[in-house]
Each structure stands twice: as C-alpha cells, then as structure tokens.
Amino acid sequence: MSTIKLKYDIPANDFVAAGEASSNVKKKLAQIGIAADKIKKAAIAMYEAEINAVIHANGGTADVEICLDRVVIAIIDNGPGIPDLELAMTEGYSTASDNIREMGFGAGMGLPNMKKYADKLDINTEVGIGTKVTITVYFI
C-alpha cells in the first residue's frame, strides 16, 4: 500500500467542521481495513487535537499520512502557543472559557486523552507562534 495523504482545514470556532476531519479519517481507516481498536485510538486523539485548535487557536490545519504500519496526524495552528506544557498536560487543568465548558469541553482532558490514545505524541509549541501536535498510532 502506498502512503495516503490527507489534508483538512480546521476553521475557527466551528464545532461542526471540527468533527468532520476526524470522522473522515476514521471512515478512511475503516475502508482500508485497519483494526477497530486502532481506528478508535487515532480518531479520538485527532478529535481532541482538532477541538483544541478550534477552542484555543482560531483553527488550523490537519495533515494525515496513512502508511502500511501507522497513521501520523499533524494538527498545526497559529494560535497563542502553550506557555507551560507540563501544566497543560495535567489532567484537570484547563484554560477554556465558560461557554466552552457549557458545551461539555474544558475538563482539562484533551491533551491527557491524546497522550492516552496516541502511541507517540509530539508537541511543538511556541508562545505567540503556534502549536504543532503530532499523533502517531501504529497498526501493528
């Protein structure tokens, strides 16, 4: 199988579109016969990253590469960056606003969930520049 490359825009403040990219990747992985538990891991980690980009960073882009043995998902934004990554990785820590919390987000579990479901998680962030979250899920 050759590498499948997918690219998505993540529009700002658009929660409807935010789910679209992850569900599209989920469907794609199912189509090519990836195991259900691996698909779930990739889809949830990606959805959390997308939602973060929507909530915190005025949207961004998602670059997805599906290879024979793995999927690599890069969510890139030009948002404010994360000043204290260690603190942001703490379960329960959140800077989300009240209206985001009312939607059921902002529990401080987005990054911890990405860590939980990704086999490999890389976060490059710089204050004032943006954040790149790279999620890798291995199929075998």
């Binding site: 929660f15 789910g19 569900s23 779930k40 889809a43 959390e48 987000f105 579990m109 969930n113």
Partner: protein, 113 residues
C-alpha cells in the same frame, strides 16, 4: 438488548430518523456530561446518557462507537445535532425519565448481556 427493546423499557422516543442497524445491541450504560471524559471512558456498545444536546454529542458518539445516545428528562435536542447524527448513523433517543430511572429500568429488565 436491542435498541428497540431499550426504547420500550425507558419509554423512549427515537429523535433521529431511523435505527440504521437493527442488530446493534446495547451492552452497558455510561453516564457522563464531560465530552473528553466520555471519550476516555465510554466503551463500544454503551448506551450513553447525557444532558448535553450540542453538535459535539454525535461526534463523540461516533468516535467512541457507543450503541446510542439517550437524552433524559425530555430535554430538547438541537436540530443541528439531530442532522449531524442522522448523517453519521448515530441513534439518539429521548425520554422523560432521568438518568437514574433509565438505569434502574435497564437493570430491572435483566436484558443486558
């Protein structure tokens, strides 16, 4: 238990258009209103009870592969939410009952596998 059995037990009303797959079984119940928490803990085949009705609910249901979503206490679901659920084959059931009463009836039915 099958979705139709569940609906009968909890006096539920199907809010989405149809049950895409009649063979889908509910294996357990999960109750939570924090979406990331749900994504971390809900299991495939759960009936997920939540008071949330926004458009993220069908997205989370899709990711977690829950069997269906139950909206308790006659809370009205948003149109956009139902539209997105229909597009993705997510089942949303509404009921007058609260979360505890839904759970009690499901347990009393002894139909959970």
């Amino acid at each position: 238990m099958y979705i139709k059995e569940l609906m009968q037990i909890i006096s539920g009303e199907l809010l989405t258009n149809k049950i895409p797959d009649l063979s889908v079984k509910v294996q357990n119940v999960y109750i939570c209103d924090l979406l990331s928490w749900v994504m971390s803990h809900a299991q495939k085949g759960d009936a997920w009870i939540t008071v949330l009705t926004n458009v993220n609910v069908p997205a989370v249901a899709l990711m977690t592969e829950v069997a269906c979503v139950i909206i308790p206490e006659a809370i009205k679901a948003e149109e956009l939410t139902l539209k997105k659920a229909n597009e993705n084959g997510i089942i949303i059931i509404g009921t007058q009952l609260n979360s505890f009463e839904i759970s009690r009836r499901i347990i009393d039915s002894k139909l959970l596998s």
